[in-house]
């Protein structure tokens, strides 16, 4: 899995076009892309849309809200559309078992095979990076891990300078732990869409450290990610 494209989970037009960019997987976002007032409508839209569209060979994921902020509702409602996995933000030793239990309840309530829906934790805290080996070993549903450098640096209490050496240790630790666990590590998103050279250099850097792919925040990033991580 090289590219995962983030798509606003409450934008029907974006949903319709989401598989046109050639991403290995699309991730419909209920977290940062959707305002608090529209979470309920977005959950229902994803439930209906996931059952309606033919996604072909593309992986279909839903990025839920943190478990402390309605992630359980996202899983219960949007999950009826049976995505292949849920991306869990702010994953840690507390939230991962909660998400696992919510997915188990979803599978049981809807007749989905037990263990058929996977989890992709986002590692974005100091504690999660420090304990990533234990985190990965704690849940058999984990099919990949995403590293979010921006929130990691916030949790570390330092300002982001733009120098990749700031996150070298954390990035390397995530890549190594995932390789040891036999699952793909997906590198941080690059949000500065105007800085194409920076984006591609960052993708190459991630690949050199052992990442399998990168999160795309725009369809235009997908071809480069696929090429660099090929």
């Amino acid at each position: 899995m090289k590219s995962i494209l983030l798509i606003n989970g409450n934008d029907p037009k974006a949903l319709l076009n989401s598989t046109l960019y050639g991403a290995d997987a699309v991730a419909y976002d209920l977290h940062e892309a959707v305002s608090a007032n529209d979470k309920d409508a977005a959950r229902l839209l994803l439930q209906e849309a996931l059952a309606f569209f033919d996604f072909g060979d593309s992986g279909v994921f839903v990025r839920v809200n943190p478990m402390s902020e309605g992630g359980d509702k996202d899983i219960a409602v949007a999950g009826k559309g049976k995505p292949q996995a849920f991306i869990l933000p702010c994953a840690d030793a507390q939230s991962l078992p909660q998400a696992d239990a919510a997915v188990s309840a979803l599978e049981a309530a809807n007749g989905f095979a037990a263990g058929s829906i996977k989890l992709i934790p986002t590692v974005e805290s100091v504690a999660a990076v420090e304990n990533i080996g234990a985190l990965l070993a704690s849940c058999p549903r984990i099919m990949a891990v995403i590293f979010n450098a921006e929130n990691f640096l916030k949790d570390l209490g330092v300002a982001e300078t733009g120098d990749a050496s700031q996150i070298l240790y954390a990035r390397s630790k995530v890549a190594l732990a995932c390789r040891a666990a036999g699952i793909p590590a997906i590198d941080r998103p690059w949000k500065d869409l105007k800085n194409r050279d920076g984006f591609e250099a960052d993708a190459r850097n991630g690949k050199a450290l052992g990442f399998s792919g990168k999160l795309a925040v725009s369809g235009g990033q997908v071809p480069s990610i696929n090429e660099i991580f090929a």
Binding site: P12, K13, L16, A41, L45, Q47, A51
Partner: protein, 89 residues
């Protein structure tokens, strides 16, 4: 299902539909559909039927539904009607 207030969901943007559900004194479900005339001429009847069916499946009895379509697919129409009903309860 008894509605207590007006509920709205969706948006007046391309590919979406803005659905407003309100309580009604009249029996049954009254649907007011608007949108591009070329779409309504071709798909208006199907859109109305889908709104009616979705409303009934969600237990709606007496209500007024206003829908402003902007080229929404069936899955979007169903989702927005369901969300508007939930918000009106």
């Amino acid at each position: 299902m008894k509605l207590n207030k007006t509920g709205e969901a969706g948006a007046a943007e391309s590919g979406d539909i803005l659905v407003t559900v309100a309580p009604s004194e009249e029996p049954g479900i009254q649907i007011e559909l608007s949108g591009k005339s070329v779409i309504l001429k071709q798909f208006g009847r199907q859109i109305r039927e889908l709104i009616q069916k979705t409303a009934e499946e969600n237990g709606l009895e007496n209500a007024r539904i206003c829908a402003k379509d902007n080229g929404a697919l069936d899955c979007t129409i169903k989702a927005r009607v369901r969300a508007a009903i939930q918000r009106a309860v």
